[in-house]
Point group: C2
């Protein structure tokens, strides 16, 4: 640290970066009092010096030389996103002993262990509250508050875009395509919505949450993902009529000492579940721990100001360490819990089928479940036009492998005209 | 720190202490991996060596010499409660450089600055997550996660006993006395329920939350308190019919740069407010901050295991500091915001009156409001027996002083037979 304070570099000046710069400049006295020294913004790395910017951004601090900026900072705020050049810059910062605060979920979910190792080797902090669920302090919660407890499950709504789309489908009866178009119009979804609607963004966050919750390395490639493209307005209506909502969930579970599973998928959730009431662009994460029981963290999951709040909380913590000593918790991966496969992970599903409407079809369907030793919790059936009927079967808990094999076999039944949907049931 | 690990002393072995001992012994390997060194339980201070105890408590570690135990510990967990001997023991620990983890809200709310000063002088940590809302990590949230933001309001349900009582009144139509008796029968209320039902417990927590939220010293004596004894089954029914619930709230607000206010009182809360759905012994705290917007922290507010989870999270943090260096955040009271008085604090109230049922009475009532420049948002009125009517008046925002003067004057009106109740309206 320089005598003149903690030298802070901001990499990236988009929506979040601009808000970070705003807070660093407009609340400088508060931040200095809390960190124990002034936070001195020494530069802002951007791609285009001439782009239009919010007047709060001091143009004289803009630079296109990100690497040069990193070299003269005590604390680097990485808000570029994506893997490169973010990864190289973060590693350079940590290697030189500068602490890093990042909101880069993709980088953490793919290169977390490498970054943590670099932080330890450089005796620097690595903070990333903003990488998961915006302003919601669930990284702190798992990494610090729950350090004395054993987490058994994490269920989260961690992607505001898909939550907004599902909400609009549920409340206004829109199709997926209509709701996506609305989300894009309102700025809640990007022109290329793949990362959000196909669940990859949520999967990166799920990997980070699971790593923290279970003290085990989990990467984004360890997370099987199903997005929300196949969710229909009919699914929504049907869910509502039966006391459920449909949410895209990140689910991480520990099965005793056997191992852990991490999944992202749309799921039927009972309307009374705390996550069922999470609307629009809000995020929420439910954590279940052996001693604490059920906790919930709730707040705005995205947007410039909320994300900047999370970034600045980390900046103050890292800056206080520069001033007073101490370090952020290191990577905690000692537990090395195995990732369970489909034969070992239990789940419940609802399967919707279009069937021939004639005697014996239900018996044939039930027989398939029985052969895979999947027991059935409930069956709802109604007649469609032209000699066909619709049926929804909710299972009890069974292995993912048995549930998948059941669906494969159902599809081969002569009386089954179509497997309309297969969806997880959670939170019961 | 000794080479053999961090020496942990537990003071008090009631419900929470027993669960802390259970976690320290049954999850010792996990805790050691997370803290970076074994946590070695060196003694448990109790009043009665011969009392019956859970088998998890190692009897050979029991001692009645709390001061002697403190002298041979690196980390002291204070779970005695109350002021003395807790205060002297905590000061002795901090003075000797041992870190302290406490769940003692009364001690913190009355002697917080003294304890923080002792921690700083002794270069020791002072942690107290368990002092507010059990397992709900709102102390972490305010002290660390939100260190980069400016909090404008904190609204919390922080007392499970009163929340249980109000819930039973609301859902089962019980009177306060009946619901209190039920809470005592179920172990949710103590034989002497004063601290809970009169709001003193919530006031201590409100003082702690406000101190953290506003970086300003707030003591329990700075918190005007109204408990729930005067809430009636009629109030509950009336609230429900009008789309409200009644909750005991801790409310801390910042009015721009003018100052802050901290209050505990029962309040009407719209059913759609996130706190309205908090049931039974659960706690929840809503924090509103300039950048983060609205956050909510939710979980079990009391009970041995949840509180022990909060304690152990702090123990791991403090132990990691013993091992790796670094310290918990110090007291942050730099802002020194003034506490606003009744002339400056704005509020909304609902006043219920029993009136003479004759022309002109409503005009007289409205005139009193007008004279105090309190504007009326809504009036509901219905006829009672014997020439009387009932009226409920909800105000817009006005100063507490003006609202109180209005009620004083209403009581003197010849047409007002009785002021039935005056209650805050929050969360609108």
């Amino acid at each position: 640290m320089q005598e003149t304070g903690v030298r802070v570099a901001v990499l990236g000046c988009g929506t979040v970066g601009t808000e970070v710069v705003r807070l660093l400049t407009t609340t400088a006295d508060d931040l200095a009092a809390r960190a124990g020294a002034p936070l001195r913004l020494v530069g802002i790395a951007v791609r285009d010096l001439d782009a239009e910017r919010d007047p709060v951004v001091p143009r004289e601090l803009l630079t296109t030389d990100a690497a040069g900026l990193v070299a003269r900072a005590d604390l680097v705020v990485e808000l570029i996103g994506g893997i490169e050049p973010a990864r190289s810059l973060v590693l350079a910062a940590l290697g030189s002993g500068a602490s890093v605060v990042t909101g880069n979920k993709a980088l953490l979910a793919s290169y977390g262990p490498e970054l943590h190792a670099a932080a330890a080797a450089g005796d620097a902090d690595l903070y990333y509250e903003a990488a998961v669920a915006g302003a919601v302090p669930v990284v702190y919660g798992l990494r610090e508050s729950l350090a004395g407890d054993n987490v058994t499950a994490v269920l989260g709504i961690v992607n505001g875009t898909t939550n907004f789309i599902l909400d609009e489908m549920a409340t206004r009866g829109l199709s997926f395509d209509e709701a996506l178009a609305l989300a894009q119009e309102r700025g809640f979804a990007e022109a290329d919505p793949t990362a959000d609607v196909d669940g990859h963004d949520a999967a990166a966050k799920a990997a980070i949450l699971a790593s923290l919750a279970f003290h085990t390395r989990v990467g984004v490639d360890d997370v099987p993902v199903t997005g929300i493209r196949s969710v229909t307005a009919d699914d929504m209506r049907e869910a509502r009529e039966n006391g459920y909502v449909i949410k895209l969930l990140a689910v991480a579970r520990r099965d005793g000492e056997r191992g852990i599973s991490v999944r992202v998928h749309p799921a039927l959730l009972p309307v009374g579940h705390p996550l069922a009431a999470v609307r629009g662009a809000y995020n929420a994460v439910v954590v279940e721990a052996e001693a604490a029981g059920r906790l919930m963290f709730y707040g705005q999951g995205a947007g410039g100001a909320p994300t900047a709040s999370a970034v600045l909380g980390d900046v103050v913590a890292a800056a206080a360490h520069e001033v007073h000593g101490g370090r952020a918790p290191r990577e905690s991966a000692y537990a090395e819990r195995p990732l369970l496969g489909p034969a070992d992970v239990v789940a419940r599903t609802q399967v919707q089928l279009r069937l021939a409407d004639r005697p014996g079809t239900l018996a044939a369907v039930a027989d398939v479940y029985g052969r895979h030793t999947v027991s059935i919790e409930s069956v709802r059936q109604h007649r469609l036009a032209e000699g066909q009927s619709w049926i929804a079967i909710v299972s009890h808990e069974a292995s993912e492998a048995a549930l998948a094999a059941t669906v494969d076999d159902l599809a081969t039944l002569e009386s089954v005209h179509e497997v309309l949907s297969v969806m997880r049931v959670e939170g019961v």
